[in-house]
């Protein structure tokens, strides 16, 4: 079993970064293209511009209209998708290895030569509006989107899908402008993973993206976080609880310690949150915490959904568990975190699309790809004492609480 990393990185003259991981055991090849055109670049009052832009990209590009694009992709057996993230518009795709070059040609058309035709604009807006309405019908999704907006402020807390109230302010010209200013090779990352020949792949990519002209980074809208206590009224069976507190960035030397702390809090079924809230008290079906770390900030984001009359108790227990986290951390707890991480990392080696996405994201967050050996070494350095010390110097304060449901809750 060969789990060593074989990742090559290349920077084209125009600044585009290409990362290639050779995976000889698979028959597939996958790509993940990150273009710095995400929702943080939506202009003030126009949250949703990136979303509409993303929807428009596949409505005709290069020599093909939308139907011809879809037919070309299907003929290659290409499974692809585009989505908006905070920083990027993400393009991902997976296919059989021999079809990668032709798939990248279509990708280059979509990313560089979209038509943005007038006739396709209204349908694109309607499609974005529908997906925003569907979030309104999924309160468990909505609570986390709105929690991020409140705990991170702008730009990073700006909803990636857009805002219903901003949609009428956005025009096709805004979309074109978003494309002109954001779609540029610098800060763009193309990750490729699978059974590929890296020399030929680089040649293909240079041919398709080498003549892309550099630009400059557009401004982002900033605004402070808050409010730190909020409630959205909704007649529902359950109350949705979103709770957040600051953590550290992904490049902080203590990042892996912070990661292990959250893993002990909510990594598996034996984690403290799941054990105390669900297993012992049966307070809810879904409860979790995740570490959302970016390049220069981070938050721990916690969620629980529970029926109205048990919601306050659920929040109380969650807070108790979070506040007591630094106490009595055992070797066994830590070893379970490490075992989970090790398995997940090795199993990722079986999925070309998983790896393509991971190496591209690593490069964005750290300017390099982290090797499995390195993660392994860093995890081995962590001890229960280090986690406890970390938590004592980074207590869960500056809490942001957002609830959705019939009645608000309070932090006691």
């Amino acid at each position: 079993m060969n789990t060593s990393d074989s990742i090559e990185s290349h920077t084209l003259e125009n600044g585009l970064t290409v990362l290639i991981q050779h995976m000889p055991a698979v028959q597939s090849a996958a790509y993940c293209l990150l273009i710095p055109a995400g929702s943080i670049y939506d202009r003030p009052g126009k949250n949703g511009t990136a979303s509409i832009t993303c929807d428009m990209l596949t409505r005709g590009a290069g020599d093909r209209d939308s139907r011809q694009l879809a037919i070309a992709q299907d003929s290659l057996g290409l499974q692809s998708g585009e989505s908006v993230q905070a920083k990027h518009i993400k393009f991902s795709g997976a296919t059989l290895k021999d079809n990668l070059p032709a798939s990248l040609e279509i990708l280059a058309d979509i990313a560089r030569r979209p038509h943005f035709s007038e006739s396709q604009y209204a349908p694109a807006v309607s499609s974005v509006k529908h997906s925003l309405l569907s979030i309104e019908d999924e309160p468990r999704q909505k609570v986390m989107i709105e929690l991020k907006r409140r705990c991170e402020g702008l730009p990073w807390g700006k909803p990636t899908d857009g805002s219903l109230e901003d949609l009428p302010n956005i025009s096709l010209d805004d979309v074109k402008q978003h494309f002109e200013s954001c779609f540029r090779p610098e800060e763009t990352i193309l990750g490729i993973a699978g059974n590929v020949d890296s020399t030929k792949t680089i040649e293909t990519i240079t041919k398709l993206f080498g003549d892309w002209k550099p630009g400059s980074e557009p401004e982002v809208e900033e605004s402070p976080a808050g409010p730190d206590r909020d409630h959205i009224a909704l007649e529902s069976t359950q109350t949705q609880i979103g709770l957040a507190y600051p953590s550290i960035s992904i490049i902080d030397p203590e990042y892996y310690t912070a990661w292990a702390a959250v893993s002990i809090l909510s990594g598996g079924s034996s984690s403290r949150l799941f054990t105390e809230v669900r297993e012992k008290r049966g307070l809810c079906y879904a409860v979790y915490a995740t570490l959302g770390s970016l390049r220069d900030s981070g938050h721990v984001l916690c969620y629980a959904g529970t029926t109205v009359d048990r919601a306050q108790e659920t929040l109380d227990v969650m807070l108790q568990v979070i506040n007591d986290l630094s106490q009595n951390i055992t070797d066994e707890e830590l070893n379970r975190c490490k075992a989970g991480a090790k398995s997940a990392l090795i199993m990722q080696q079986e999925s070309s699309s998983g790896r393509a996405s991971r190496i591209a994201r690593d490069w964005f967050l750290r300017d390099r790809v982290v090797t499995l050996d390195e993660i392994h070494d860093r995890l081995e350095e962590i001890t229960p004492q280090k986690i406890s010390d970390y938590l004592n110097s980074h207590p869960a304060d500056q809490l942001t609480l957002l609830t959705i449901g019939p009645t608000p809750l309070e932090i006691k």
Partner: protein, 408 residues
């Protein structure tokens, strides 16, 4: 890849597809029991029992089970459907013995009263969670309406009333009836050996009670129904359409899959171009579901209430056109490419193979290598699809709506 199979004296079926070229191994116990096998007095017991499996067995407590799964870094879970309760894990090969001990143990759980009462609260919360998810609720309601009078119409979760009334003794009886070796299939896929599997089976499964549950299988005969349930506190109208389709043993099921893809896959299908691409709805899809003795085409439509009537007309038009004019050569080719690519990509991971391996054996006692699946897909012709549509007319049988509309 190599395939192996064996039936133990107690009736347990063991199947495996070993593959030395992957990093992990997937292992799953497929128990042939689900909501359709419940009597009305114990509605929801299969799913509740799936939860109880994780609450301990033998000397092990719930904490022990959770901790030991996490000790080996297992990615594990369980699920319950109308017909199957499955327990599965993906692990690194060196942890197969420990994981096997746990998985084989949890399906014969302690079922202690105290755990039963705590977990009952979790089940009630899960029902509450789905109650706030109209896309799920409309599925349950449509299934109940379409399969009215047939066991497939029974709810998987049960109701707050049925769960509240359920006793631990009733659950123990249900377990003793259904969890017998002849009713269980063990499937393994990935980096391990047949010898190792047989050793583990011998150690942990040989003493399981013999025999198997008898499922009453008869075809459903759905009568046309149309119902719109008012739910005014949500934004979108959620509609589920159901049409009778081939059952799980039918050779027509591959054609049914291809036809469903042409009608309503999430990209480049008739419904995509007529409804999603023009921005008429948030979701509009069409799929095929196979069951023991019955089958259904299921279509889900979600979007603004004002557009629901027009969208339903669009769907009817598509179905009529396919019934009268058939599909094009180009559509068939693209659908074959799509299905083939999905089969190959999902087979790269042991967990992807496990699902296919278990499913095929569960319904048909049949092993299908990836290559066999691809050949079957390639062999489907336009004539097959025409014949399918003649046999299973594409007429809206059940239409169930949930949302701001009182009727369409």
């Amino acid at each position: 890849m190599e395939f192996h199979s064996q039936v133990l004296p107690n009736g347990l079926t063991v199947i495996a597809e070993t593959n030395p070229h992957v990093h992990s191994v997937g292992v799953g116990f497929f128990v042939k029991t689900g909501s359709r096998d419940e009597t009305l007095g114990v509605s929801g017991v299969s799913h509740f029992l799936e939860h109880m499996a994780f609450k301990g067995f033998g000397n092990m407590t719930a904490d022990d089970v959770n901790q030991q799964f996490d000790d080996v870094g297992a990615s594990y879970n369980a699920s319950t459907s109308e017909e199957v309760t499955q327990f599965y894990a993906a692990i690194l090969p060196e942890y197969l013995p420990k994981t096997f001990e746990l998985l084989s143990g949890i399906i014969f759980p302690s079922l202690k009263d105290e755990d039963f009462h705590t977990e009952k609260q979790v089940i009630l919360e899960e029902i509450g969670m789905y109650d706030d998810l109209p896309g799920f609720t409309v599925y349950e309601q449509a299934m109940a309406a379409h399969f009215r009078g047939h066991p497939l119409g029974q709810s998987i979760l049960g109701t707050p009333e049925s769960i509240t009334a359920l006793t631990a003794a009733q659950m123990r009886d249900y377990h003793a009836d259904q969890y017998r070796a002849g009713n269980i299939i063990l499937a393994v896929a990935g980096n391990t050996s047949w010898e190792e599997i047989l050793k583990l089976v011998d150690q942990y499964c040989a003493k399981w009670p013999a025999g198997g549950g008898e499922r009453s299988v008869f075809p459903a005969t759905p009568a046309p129904t149309r119902h719109f349930q008012l739910l005014s506190n949500i934004q979108q109208e959620h509609v589920m359409i159901m049409i009778p389709a081939p059952e799980a043993h039918s050779p027509d099921r591959y054609a049914a899959d291809i036809l469903a893809m042409i009608i309503g896959d999430d990209s480049n299908s008739r419904m995509f171009w007529d409804i999603i691409d023009p921005g008429h709805a948030d979701s509009a899809d069409f799929g095929y579901a196979e069951y023991d003795g019955s089958g259904a085409f299921l279509s889900y439509l979600a979007g603004s209430p004002e557009e629901t009537a027009a969208n339903l007309e669009r769907i009817e038009t598509i179905l009529k056109q396919i019934s009268t004019d058939g599909i094009t050569d180009e559509e068939l080719d693209q659908a074959k490419h799509k299905v083939s690519s999905r089969v190959v990509l999902s087979s790269e991971r042991p967990m992807g193979r496990l699902a296919s391996l278990g499913g095929n054996w569960l319904y048909r006692e049949e092993y299908r290598a990836v290559k066999t699946d691809l050949e079957t897909i390639q062999s489907i012709t336009k004539n097959d699809l025409d014949a399918l549509v003649k046999k299973w007319p594409l007429q809206l049988t059940t239409v169930y709506g949930l949302g701001p509309l009182e009727g369409v």
